[in-house]
């Protein structure tokens, strides 16, 4: 059963630079369903609209970003709620208790002059009814220990902790009220491998413990291979392929997905590996037709004329590519 649904979502950035209007089509016509108790991964290059998509899903729309159409619905206690029909204070009430968001590089945004217990207290006092300072700290401690983190971090200032520990504390904070959905935006980018594994482990532990939904955004397919249940591949503001993780890695259908997977280095194989040629398209003026066609080596005439629809090709697998729709696609080419 879905817990969050996105329909025909369009979120653009409308910029006005010295009288010249520029529209960045960061998210265009995205349909997505995130289910209960699953890990959903969103992958794509930088500048493909991943962060804009999750911010729109979280309901954090601030100029110059604008919602141009579409709908985001949550299922809260069995009831469907249209996020953008809510009043601002009702939306705020859902945050952290129903859905929480760990933004990019949030570990660097902890208040440097306050001990972490201060941050925890600030956060809790605005979300749970007052029940005394000591109670809040006690429950914070219990929560940290439950996640396998040392409770004495509450007495530390952010600079006294390593980057990985800070990131894990932020995740602990985001999961404190057992939200049904946790969105983590690039939680492991630029962390080293050992710390990366620790953070991924924690995210997984939280998900298993609270039986909720984790949406993880990353550009590293290796990360998704190790924790996601279903994966959506995003390119130029659109979802181009979506499938369970085994199918994405086993039978990738979109040429872009195949580039993403083939470019991962592997041990014991020093063969030349190729990245996708060219550069990501500009979202102010995306290529006509399928946005990937200038970089695609299978591009046909139709690719530059019309954008393919994202159609189902069986078993929860859908893909937006003319090759697949014309039946010309071969597995393992």
């Amino acid at each position: 059963m879905w817990v969050m649904k996105v329909e025909q979502l369009r979120a653009f950035y409308v910029l006005d630079i010295f009288g010249v209007k520029k529209i960045v089509q960061a998210v265009s016509d995205v349909d997505l369903e995130v289910r209960e108790n699953e890990v959903y991964g969103i992958a794509g290059e930088s500048g493909c609209g991943k962060t804009t998509l999750v911010r729109a899903m979280f309901g954090d729309i601030q100029p110059p970003m604008r919602l141009m159409g579409g709908k985001v619905s949550y299922r809260v206690d069995g009831q469907e709620i249209d996020l953008y029909a809510l009043k601002p204070h009702e939306r705020r009430a859902l945050r952290w208790s129903f859905i929480s968001y760990v933004p990019q590089s949030s570990m660097s945004n902890l208040n440097p002059v306050v001990k972490l217990k201060g941050t925890f207290r600030d956060f809790l006092e605005s979300h749970v009814p007052r029940n005394g300072k000591q109670d809040v700290l006690e429950s914070a401690k219990r929560h940290l220990i439950g996640l396998g983190l040392p409770a004495n971090v509450l007495e530390a200032y952010p600079h006294q902790l390593s980057g990985g520990m800070r990131q894990r504390v932020v995740i602990a904070l985001a999961s404190f009220l057992s939200p049904r959905v946790v969105i983590a935006d690039e939680p492991v980018t630029a962390l080293d491998v050992v710390v990366q594994r620790g953070v991924l482990q924690l995210l997984q532990d939280v998900q298993e413990l609270q039986q909720n939904t984790l949406v993880i955004v990353t550009h590293d397919m290796g990360v998704l291979a190790s924790i996601a249940d279903r994966v959506g591949i995003m390119y130029a503001g659109k979802i181009v392929e979506e499938a369970p993780v085994e199918a994405i890695f086993g039978q990738p259908l979109h040429p872009y997905t195949r580039y993403l997977i083939n470019s991962l280095p592997k041990f014991g194989d020093k063969q030349m590996r190729e990245s996708a040629p060219g550069a990501p398209p500009s979202l102010t003026d995306p290529p006509h037709g399928c946005a990937f066609h200038p970089r695609c080596r299978f591009a046909m005439e139709v690719c530059s004329q019309a954008a393919p629809d994202c159609l189902s090709v069986g078993d929860e697998h859908r893909v937006a590519c003319w090759l697949v729709q014309n039946g010309e696609h071969k597995h393992d080419s």
Binding site: M165, R197, L200, S226, S263, P265, K266
Partner: protein, 337 residues
């Protein structure tokens, strides 16, 4: 035993930092007696977790930081003996940094950096000559002058800008390139094109490249030899096929286990041990890895292990105490072949 091909040689280089105020001062040995060398046309990897001293080492090689002890010799010349600025280092050694968007000032067109470098090193007499030189450097990385003319850093994609940064460092034909995490901020999808570029530079221009990273998968892909650092020490060093494929040191096993598998069927089933604080491990006596090592014994916690040579690689671990102790230079000589 410096080989004629050796471009850079480090001997027993240490760096000690002091942390804290006057009365509660702690001395942290960020780099502890590190020796290695880089040859021409070779990509030498230096890998380890963040906070293991690899960037401090890079800063010392580039001359931003003075080593507390030990020598760094570039092409037979010791930087220590030159007073004032270390001219040889900046002339023959160039650096590529982690985040290309921080390398360049966002308010300056990137071509200015190229003209500035040409001027600073007196590489050309006329603008036409400068242009041809700049164009040549850009062509080596698969770009040309027209693609950068008049453009600002924000107008490039991350991968392109990292290429521009590499082209800039090639302008004065260095013999050694220090690449400090050159791809960790670049998208996974275009990482490989930068890695392929490094391979090409080493093969075609005979450039020595010191590739500093925490990502063993890319290190395996490009490096010839590799050294793994842990809390200031090199714990193992040798041919990349040997060090990474048949790991001897338990730390390398941990690092390898942490690389996400690209196959969803081979997920992690066990948990990895993480350090809570960096300083704690730095101050540890005996083997610094003993706190996290699954095979640590009492000896590991008390005594620092010796460097021994097994199978052509250097390993610093008590597990191999009975193997032949390192004979001065024998490993080095063997690795040259």
């Amino acid at each position: 035993m410096a080989n004629t091909n050796t471009i850079l040689e480090l001997q027993e280089v240490s760096k000690v930092f002091q942390v804290g105020s006057m009365f509660s001062r702690t001395r942290i040995t960020a780099v502890d007696r590190v020796s290695f060398h880089v040859g021409a046309g070779e990509i030498f990897g230096l890998a380890g977790e963040s906070g293991c001293g690899k960037s401090t080492l890079a800063r010392m090689i580039l001359g931003f930081e003075e080593p507390t002890s030990g020598t760094i010799v570039h092409r037979g010349k010791d930087g220590q003996t030159v007073s004032g600025k270390k001219v040889w280092r900046t002339a023959g050694v160039q650096a590529v940094f982690q985040n290309p968007f921080e390398t360049f000032n966002p308010l300056r067109p990137v071509e200015r950096y190229f003209f500035e470098a040409v001027q600073n090193y007196h590489l050309a007499d006329s603008r036409a000559e400068a242009l041809s030189r700049i164009d040549k450097a850009l062509q080596t990385v698969g770009l040309n002058y027209d693609t950068i003319a008049g453009r600002y850093p924000a107008e490039f994609s991350g991968g392109q800008l990292q290429r521009v940064s590499i082209a800039r460092s090639l302008l004065n034909e260095p013999s050694l390139l220090i690449a400090d995490e050159p791809v960790s901020m670049v998208d996974a999808s275009i990482r490989m094109s930068i890695m392929n570029l490094f391979r090409e530079l080493a093969e075609k221009l005979g450039l020595g490249i010191l590739y500093i990273t925490h990502d063993l998968a890319t290190a395996y892909y490009v490096c010839n030899r590799i050294a793994i650092m842990f809390r200031g020490n090199i714990v193992t060093m040798g041919d990349v096929e040997k060090v990474l494929v048949e790991p001897k040191h338990p730390y390398v096993e941990l690092l390898r286990a942490c690389i996400p598998e690209t196959d969803p069927k081979k997920r992690w089933t066990t948990k990895a041990q993480l350090a809570d604080s960096d300083t704690g491990e730095y101050l540890r006596e005996g083997c610094k890895f003993a706190g996290r090592c699954p095979r640590a014994t009492e000896t590991c916690r008390l005594e620092e292990p010796e460097e021994v040579e097994i199978d052509g690689m250097l390993v610093k671990c008590h597990l191999y105490r009975d193997a032949s102790p390192k004979l001065a230079g024998s490993v080095m000589n063997q690795l040259h072949k």
